[in-house]
């Protein structure tokens, strides 16, 4: 059963040069208790998709489509309702823990904030819960650390705090945007393990460009390119049997697969090619690809791909 159903979601930003179509008519189902990975290169629209779910995009953004969560369209519920959902039922774990924590507010208070807001606990109870959360994310001597300020925490510890904030209200759905960004390898492994442990029975959308992290954590992975999803499969299928030429290029650009770059550049988000958006860079391109925009084709029950060549 799907917990969150994204139907035809677009997020467009009007600029002087034209409309930037950061997310363009995306359909995506996120099943209950699964971890769905959203991967793609910088500027492919992953983070915008993540932010649009709880309506955190700036007011200039034009967001269309539907995001059905528990029978309600999150894009049309009232401002008060979405505020209650944010941080309570659906939480965002933002990228850059260093800048996402307020430098002049104590760590414990920053965790307690959401707890007080969504669970109606009083100041003291919320503080205790915040210390429990710090303990749960394995921050040593949590009651002492709760009294400290962000600058007294290391990068890995700050990321643990972000996870604690994200999970403090026992949310149904977690949107984690690059939770391992800027961490060195050993810390990254710890954070991945921690997140796996803490979100075992929760639904999560994991946005990352780290394929290793995605492979380790996700039940399914969706690959984004130029504002749309080009391939969606289980990690095994995606890594072993990539169908879309872009997926193959993406995987071949990994260091241990030869660091082979994909020819050409990502299209401008303002003017997409008429047909397949990958066609200008694709070595298997044919007439159909240039003139028609491919739909998602189902290859196997869990494997979808947006490529005419994969159809047969």
């Amino acid at each position: 059963m799907s917990l969150v159903e994204i139907i035809g979601l677009s997020a467009h930003f009007p600029t002087h040069d034209g409309i930037v179509k950061a997310v363009d008519r995306i359909d995506l189902n996120i099943e209950d208790t699964e971890t769905l990975g959203l991967i793609g290169e910088t500027g492919s629209g992953k983070s915008v998709l993540g932010l649009s779910i709880t309506r955190l995009l700036p007011p200039t953004a034009i967001v269309e489509g539907k995001i059905i969560y528990k029978g309600r369209n999150l894009l049309t519920v009232s401002e008060d309702d979405i505020r209650k959902i944010r941080g309570g039922e659906i939480t965002n774990i933002l990228q850059n823990p260093t800048t996402s924590l307020n430098p002049v507010v104590k760590i414990g208070e920053q965790i307690a904030e959401a707890i007080r807001l969504h669970q109606g606990l009083n100041k003291k109870e919320a503080k205790e819960k915040a210390i429990e959360m710090l303990d749960a994310v394995k921050v040593p001597s949590p009651s002492k650390r709760a009294q400290q300020y962000p600058h007294e925490f290391s990068g890995g510890m700050k990321q643990r705090v972000m996870i604690a904030i994200g999970l403090a209200c026992d949310p149904f759905f977690i949107i984690a945007d690059e939770p391992t960004k800027g961490l060195d390898v050993t810390i990254k492994v710890q954070i991945v393990d921690l997140m796996k442990e803490m979100t075992e029975h929760k639904t999560m959308l994991l946005i990352t460009h780290d394929l290793g992290v995605a492979a380790a954590m996700c039940d399914r992975i969706a690959l984004m390119y130029a504002g749309e999803i080009v391939e969606c499969a289980t990690p095994l299928d995606l890594f072993e049997k990539p169908m879309h030429p872009y997926t193959r290029g993406f995987l071949n650009s990994l260091p241990h697969r030869g660091l082979t770059p994909i020819q050409g550049m990502s299209p401008s988000l303002i003017n997409y090619p008429d047909g397949c958006r990958f066609s200008p860079r694709c070595e298997y391109v044919n007439e159909e690809c240039i003139h028609h925009h491919p739909d998602m084709f189902r290859i196997e029950c869990e494997h979808f791909v947006r490529c005419f060549n994969a159809r047969s």
Binding site: L56, R83, N92, L94, S100, Y149, I165
Partner: protein
């Protein structure tokens, strides 16, 4: 607002290293102590007249002499410090409160709110502040309260500008977005997340604003809009001493010095704080 202890100690440490801030702090503390303990330190009643002792030069019984009604200048100056400091604190406190709140709203919401508030600020700034204060103090009944009101009216704008400027850059920070992603209300973000981050520039402006308020109070009192006789106010004392300037210059010199020293104290501290708290400044040990 709870002050972070380590941060507070840090500021104290920095003040010790800055010579002008140290000197300013010492001057201010001494004058605050003088104001608090005025009843103990003052040898005479500041208001009681004693015509027999009028216009005495500084001597042992009256270290700073007496005025034309025989009142001890030293005692009057001590009590005058109370008025100057109180007015300074009240004026700065209230104008900072009004100014900062409006500035935060303007910076945070932008658009029409911002334009409305900032045009209001501009409108207030078009008047020369002393004239505006004179007009307000003149329309109201002369006295301490009308001077305070006048100084607040001309003083709040600078806090709005500083507050708004800081908020403009702060509201783009990720921790604000992060708070919003937790479902936090705008008001809570403004005062719980943004406000603690703008305290530093506000403290600097407020310290310099104290000097400004004290000086303006003296000017308005000198012109007769302030506290009325026999209140021992420094500006009013200057004015009262004016007819005797040539024969008894001490009547103007000492109140003038008192004003100068207190204003100097706040200016030194304000400048020192600005140097200390300026993040762009490298601290050279």
């Amino acid at each position: 607002m709870k002050m972070n202890n380590s941060r507070f100690n840090n500021i104290v440490g920095h003040i010790k290293r800055s010579r002008s801030a140290t000197l300013g702090t010492i001057i201010i503390l001494l004058l605050i102590l003088a104001a608090i303990f005025a009843p103990i330190l003052a040898p005479y009643d500041p208001i009681e007249t004693n015509v027999e002792d009028r216009l005495m030069k500084p001597c042992i019984e009256h270290p700073l002499g007496t005025d034309h009604l025989g009142r001890d200048v030293y005692s009057r100056l001590l009590y005058g410090a109370r008025i100057s400091l109180t007015v300074g604190i009240v004026v700065v406190g209230i104008s900072a409160l009004i100014g900062v709140i409006l500035g935060i709203f303007a910076g945070f919401y932008g658009g029409l709110t911002d334009s409305t508030i900032m045009r209001l600020v501009d409108a207030f700034l078009t008047f020369p502040s002393v004239f505006l204060a004179i007009v307000i103090a003149g329309v109201l009944k002369p006295g301490l309260v009308s001077v305070i009101i006048a100084l607040i009216v001309v003083g709040w704008t600078k806090y709005s500008r500083v507050g708004r400027g800081s908020v403009l850059s702060l509201k783009e920070k990720e921790f604000v977005e992060s708070a919003r992603s937790l479902g936090v209300h705008d008001r809570y973000i403004m005062f719980r997340h943004i406000f603690p981050n703008i305290i530093t520039p506000i403290i600097i402006v407020a310290t310099l604003g104290m000097a400004d308020a004290i000086l303006s109070l003296a000017s308005l009192s000198f012109l007769g809009f302030g506290p009325q006789p026999p209140t021992p106010e420094w500006g009013a004392m200057l004015n009262a001493g004016r007819p005797f300037m040539q024969t008894d210059p001490h009547l103007m010199i000492f109140p003038g010095l008192a004003i100068m020293i207190l204003v100097l104290g706040f200016n030194l501290l304000g400048d020192g704080l600005r140097d200390i708290l300026d993040p762009k400044r490298e601290i050279i040990e």
